[in-house]
Symmetry: C2
Subunit: 80 residues, 2 copies
Amino acid sequence: SPLSRNIRCRCIKSHDVVPNVKFLQKLEVIPESSSCPRTEIIATMKRTQEQRCLNPNSKQIQDLLKLINKKRPKETSNQK
Amino acid sequence: SPLSRNIRCRCIKSHDVVPNVKFLQKLEVIPESSSCPRTEIIATMKRTQEQRCLNPNSKQIQDLLKLINKKRPKETSNQK
């Protein structure tokens, strides 16, 4: 049956509220694939190592990714 | 000495060329921290599990992240 397809999404539900970048250890972005038909974004928190799924449709996510890219130290910005 | 600080960046050098999203298993975004003074972006390839560091200053990265966010299936786009 269609339900027997091996769907292995990592997120069941996702948060709309994006954590402050200061508390973020990493952000994993997993594109849609045959394993899971949706993009998944998983935040890992610094101290607790807690993993939290974030809603990829949230505007806040796009803003967070922009913020991360803009925070670059001058000494490495033109490094080869 | 300053050099004895425990710097543990995961990337030594980074690629400017961003892989096609089809071949990408995941993308890890690691904000700058006390362990590493720069943002690191690590792509893991689907078949080979090869990990490749990408240049966060590359315009292609921002475009890739936008593309990933735009590719959302209709059936889940308004799901709660």
